[in-house]
């Protein structure tokens, strides 16, 4: 040791010590800085905390993330530790986000399960509705088939009557003219009996053809004539305009009336008992008018068509059930027997 050192005055020694100390400090903690990336971690955490759907769903991991971000925000002299703190903060924010989103997904399942239940119920209800409507149309078909049998029987009688009449008069209406010519030709060569027989045969054929057309329309033979019942499928509830695509049967009627120009038609509208007399009378009138105007629109002379509303009278089924009411809501088209057949 140098003795002169001891002779240095005290203030000088203090100065040196201070200088050494400050040098050391500078070396150790050169510049404590806020680590890179801490702000970004804070921003992502704030975003999570302010998302109303996620903010409250993962409280524990969000608290962990908050603590980690706070540590990451501390200025650090050691760059490695600063990096480490930011890494931990980032990962903990990620974990909090993932857990909150998982919790959200689990909570959403309640709603999804309810939606599933509703969809299943709707599907079942729908199937039941379909089955009901199939049942209703099956009933209508059976009714049609029954009436057809009756109609065939009456039609046979009608045809025979007409054929006999034509044959005995040896005259031919427009439809039987060709038959008469052939019959006349034959009559010159053969006996009058044979001619008459042929005429009768031709007339019978004509009638069979007419009958086939009536059959197609599912017409019912009554003492008023052939009755064609158009079900309520023609109209929407409470409406009088014809549904699109419901005119199939009406088009057969048009063809029939074109083939047999001496036939006239009465159109009668009927309803069920819902809505009172006046309302139903008016509705049935409008519906029968609507059928009439469809027919005139197809070229049938309006003088051959009469339309009336019968309201809720003459129900053909009970009004106490939906299927009965459905049968009562109808339009009947009555094809009058031709005057010639009535003598």
């Amino acid at each position: 040791m140098n003795t002169s050192t001891y002779k240095v005055p005290i203030p000088g020694r203090t100065l040196i010590a201070a200088a050494v100390a400050s040098l050391l400090l500078v070396a150790c903690a050169a510049a404590p800085v806020r680590p890179d990336g801490a702000d970004a971690a804070r921003a992502r955490l704030t975003q999570l905390q302010s998302n109303p759907e996620l903010a409250t769903r993962a409280p524990v991991s969000m608290k962990d993330a908050e603590i980690a971000v706070r540590i990451a925000e501390q200025p650090q002299a050691d760059v490695e530790i600063g990096k480490y703190n930011v890494y931990m903060a980032d990962r903990k924010v990620d974990i909090a986000v993932a857990q909150a989103e998982t919790a959200l997904a689990v909570d959403q399942r309640v709603g999804l399960a309810q939606a599933q239940e509703k969809a299943r119920l709707d599907a079942r209800t729908h199937e039941a509705d379909l089955a009901n409507s199939k049942l209703a149309s099956a009933r209508v078909e059976i009714a049609d088939q029954k009436s057809q049998a009756e109609m065939n029987r009456l039609a046979a009688a009608d045809a025979a009557q007409q054929a006999a009449l034509l044959a005995s008069q040896q005259s031919a209406d427009v439809a039987a003219q060709l038959a008469a010519q052939q019959a006349a030709l034959l009559a010159s060569q053969q006996s009058a009996d044979a001619a008459a027989q042929l005429a009768a045969q031709q007339a019978a054929q004509q009638n069979a053809e007419m009958q086939r057309q009536l059959d197609e329309m599912h017409a019912k033979m009554t003492d008023r004539g052939a009755v064609l019942t158009l079900g309520d499928v023609l109209f929407a509830t409470g409406r009088a305009d014809l549904k699109v695509g419901a005119t199939n049967n009406l088009d057969r009627l048009v063809a029939f009336l074109n083939n047999y120009p001496n036939r006239t038609v009465v159109i009668e509208g009927y309803t069920d008992n819902i809505g009172g007399d006046e309302y139903n009378m008016a509705l049935s009138q409008r519906r029968s008018d609507s059928v009439k105007s469809y027919l005139t629109g197809q070229g049938i002379g309006s003088v051959r068509l009469t339309s009336t509303g019968k309201g809720l009278s003459n129900p053909i089924a009970g009004n106490d059930s939906a299927s009965g009411r459905q049968q009562n809501r109808r339009v009947e088209v009555i094809i009058d027997n031709p005057p010639v057949a009535m003598r």
């Binding site: 931990m88 993932a98 997904a105 969809a119 379909l130």
Partner: protein, 132 residues
């Protein structure tokens, strides 16, 4: 007497200083490995693996494995503070892999439910379409 006491004190001081220095050096050189952190990282990784993180969060899971391996090699090089940090990072990687796998599975369940709902509705609409 006075002088000898003074000498003795000086000797003791030297000894104490020497001992303290030795202790400090020993403390630095023999910091124990971060056994608990390494163990925590390993168990977090196997927890994530059980949750199928290999399928749903593969990058995070492999991060965790790599950092665990790096932590072990830091232990071999006696870099204990670095080993400690790597082990902790490995653990949060594994926890994140686990959380992401759980989220992916939860979302998959919801998607399946949504899909079956829309299938039901579609089927119903198709049946309505059949109706004339």
């Amino acid at each position: 007497m006075n002088v000898s006491w003074q000498r003795l004190t000086d000797q003791r001081l030297c000894l104490a200083a020497g001992l303290a220095g030795a202790l400090l050096a020993a403390a630095c050189a023999s910091t124990p490995p971060p056994t608990a952190s390494l163990q925590a990282a390993r168990s977090a990784i196997s927890h994530a693996e059980e949750a199928d993180a290999g399928r749903y969060a593969a990058p995070e899971l492999s991060d965790a494995r790599e950092r665990l391996a790096a932590a072990n090699s830091a232990v071999d090089q006696k870099m204990m503070p670095a080993a400690q940090r790597l082990a902790e990072e490995s653990r949060v990687d594994a926890q994140l892999a686990f959380s992401k796998a759980e989220r992916a599975k939860a979302v998959a369940v919801n998607d399946e439910m949504k899909h079956s709902n829309s299938t039901l509705i579609e089927e119903m609409q198709r049946k309505s379409g059949d109706q004339p």
